[in-house]
């Protein structure tokens, strides 16, 4: 229990350091956000008024105190560019990215663990080598390139090779702009639009997980307790289920937490390519417009997710692995 409290406190402190770091980084950088918001013909007085309105003319310490007080009260400020609360923008974008991330992460682990275990069981065969070449290559591919390759297949390729109707997947957007379907129809529409983005993220993630699973399971298969289990007559399936998977699971759960930032980072590119209005797009647009409050808010959400995931991994490990309980 004391350990739990300590870990949570550590995480909160770490989160605050991250936020402060981002604040300092953004304010230390050159470039004036007010200059981007006013007309190019505006006078110096107009620029000064704009800066005063945004609070950028006050001393850095005052800005920090004001911002910190706001954050503690759940107020992340107002977007410079859109003049709307940052929390409202985040609340609109976050579900899209989380949905994309959750679906991809689930597929990532299902496919990755299955491929990795299959490889470990056939260690050294041609199938194993072919799958290793495949996973290593996919893992080396940038997500936006893989995404564009899928777009090419389902636009250029669909036209050229006359894909049947059910295989003509939409390559851009979250929903069909012409469709006004509600309820079940809308859900089916979003699902169809999600296939290519989720596939892109899951392919890269699964390649990484398969590489990792293969090496863990290959090590486990050489262990004496596996040989003992086989020797006493346990079936192949029972050995895999009860002895190998049970021992491979704890490191994989920790990896699940560690994979989250990768999926989030990948979603920046995937959202850009597939025109999904999620966190990644919000972040990139805000950076281009020097919209500091939105950049800070998005970074805070990313950091919070990473820290929470690490914490969950730390706390779950003793639950799954009795050897880590002390």
């Amino acid at each position: 229990m004391r350990l739990l409290v300590r870990r949570v406190l550590d995480a909160v402190v770490l989160f605050w350091i991250v936020l402060t770091l981002t604040f300092v980084l953004l304010r230390a950088a050159p470039g004036d956000p007010a200059a981007l918001l006013i007309a190019p013909t505006a006078s110096a007085a107009d620029a000064a008024r704009e800066r005063a309105e945004l609070g950028l003319d006050r001393p850095l310490v005052v800005q920090y105190a004001h911002w910190a007080a706001g954050v503690l009260g759940g107020d992340l400020g107002e977007s410079f560019a859109e003049r709307r609360p940052v929390t409202a923008l985040l609340a609109r974008a976050l579900p899209i990215s989380l949905g994309l991330g959750a679906a991809s992460l689930a597929l990532t682990f299902i496919i990755g663990i299955a491929v990795g275990m299959a490889q470990a069981a056939r260690r050294g065969t041609r199938t194993d080598t072919a799958l290793t070449v495949l996973t290593t290559s996919v893992y080396a591919a940038p997500s936006y390139w893989l995404a564009l390759a899928l777009v090419a297949v389902f636009t250029y390729g669909a036209a050229r090779w006359a894909f049947p109707g059910w295989l003509r997947l939409p390559a851009f957007g979250v929903r069909d702009p012409a469709g006004s379907a509600a309820g079940g129809g809308a859900l089916a529409d979003v699902t169809r639009h999600a296939i290519l983005p989720v596939l892109t993220l899951a392919a890269i993630g699964a390649a990484g997980i398969a590489r990792y699973t293969r090496s863990i399971v290959a090590d486990l298969l050489g262990m004496e307790f596996v040989r003992t289990a086989r020797a006493k007559g346990a079936s192949r399936r029972a050995v895999y289920a009860r002895h190998v998977l049970a021992n491979a699971l704890p490191p994989l759960v920790v990896l699940f937490a560690l994979a989250l930032p990768g999926v989030l980072a990948g979603s920046v590119f995937v959202e850009t390519v597939f025109a999904w209005p999620g966190m990644g797009r919000l972040m990139v647009d805000a950076i281009r417009a020097r919209d500091y409050p939105v950049v800070m808010g998005a970074t805070a959400v990313y950091a919070a997710l990473v820290i929470a995931a690490n914490l969950a991994g730390d706390l779950l490990l003793p639950v799954l692995d009795p050897r880590r309980r002390s």
Partner: protein, 288 residues
């Protein structure tokens, strides 16, 4: 990683690919019949498919882009920037990481705690987000990308070196050198560090691949290397608008990217087998 091949062969293949790329990057743009940056007969040459011979008798291995420029020559010109930025970014980040990790472990106390807290805080932000924030704040260009890669890539190496220095510090040969009166800085530099770099070398080699991926990602978003200087990332971004009519423009530079990152991964994995035994998880961070 390829199980059927012994590590010496994997090293040879990876080095072969990288050497071929470096030679290609040096030679191909210089030998190209037209400047790969210059725009010529746009109407006659634009978006030619791969393996085409144009009216002037020039052969286009990978076709041409929307301005009629030869994609293969541009890809090799881009290789100069991408390889240099990736290698330099990872090496400099590694150097900072080795410095921070070694000093933190050697000095200990408050400096150690402060360095590790800063590292943890930076590790808690996905590296891409950190890169985006930094990249957007300063003027884009190759120097900025290298600086940002350095600033966001040292934490992993610092942790590895710190752990190794702590392990080596108590070895009898370090005690012996100390007993002989070697000053502290010399002890660290001559006796401890050379024996604590194995995993750092592996991490830096694998880091080249992810640095190249991150550079290309920034350039793809328009926040890295700026046109007319081609980099693999901005070439892919350039081909994006033509993806439905001429997909090869966006896809060809990506192949070079995949092959390069693959070679770096092979080399890093082979080195890992020889030098260190740390887990794969560190390389899961910082994907583009």
């Amino acid at each position: 990683m390829i199980p059927a091949l012994p590590s010496a062969w994997r090293t040879r293949i990876a080095l072969g690919i990288l050497v071929a790329l470096v030679i290609g990057a040096a030679v191909v743009p210089a030998l190209a019949p037209t400047d790969p940056r210059a725009i010529g007969d746009v109407i006659g040459l634009r978006l030619l498919p791969p393996l085409t011979i144009d009216g002037a008798g020039h052969f286009h291995l990978l076709g041409t882009d929307r301005f009629g420029r030869d994609l293969f020559a541009r890809m090799m010109l881009a290789a100069r920037v991408s390889l240099l930025v990736g290698a330099l970014g990872s090496l400099l980040a590694g150097a900072v990481g080795i410095g921070v990790g070694a000093v933190a472990a050697w000095v200990g106390g408050a400096i150690d705690r402060a360095a590790m807290a800063l590292g943890d805080a930076l590790l808690a932000i996905p590296r891409l987000v950190l890169l985006l924030v930094c990249a957007a704040l300063w003027r884009p260009g190759a120097t900025m990308v290298v600086a940002v890669l350095m600033a966001t890539g040292w934490m992993g190496v610092a942790r590895l070196v710190r752990a190794d220095v702590l392990g080596v510090r108590g070895q009898p040969y370090v005690e012996a050198a100390r007993a002989l009166g070697a000053p502290s800085a010399r002890l660290l530099w001559r006796h401890v560090l050379p024996n604590a770099l194995g995993s750092a070398v592996v991490a830096i080699t694998l880091g080249v691949g992810s640095a190249i991926l991150l550079e290309s990602g920034l350039s793809f978003l328009g926040l890295g290397i700026q046109p007319p200087q081609p980099s693999w990332g901005n070439m892919i971004a350039d081909g994006r608008d033509a993806i439905v009519v001429a997909p090869w423009v966006a896809l060809a530079p990506g192949l070079a990217l995949v092959v390069t990152v693959l070679a770096c991964t092979l080399l890093g994995d082979a080195l890992r087998d020889r030098l260190a035994g740390e887990p794969l998880t560190e390389t899961m961070r910082g994907r583009a």
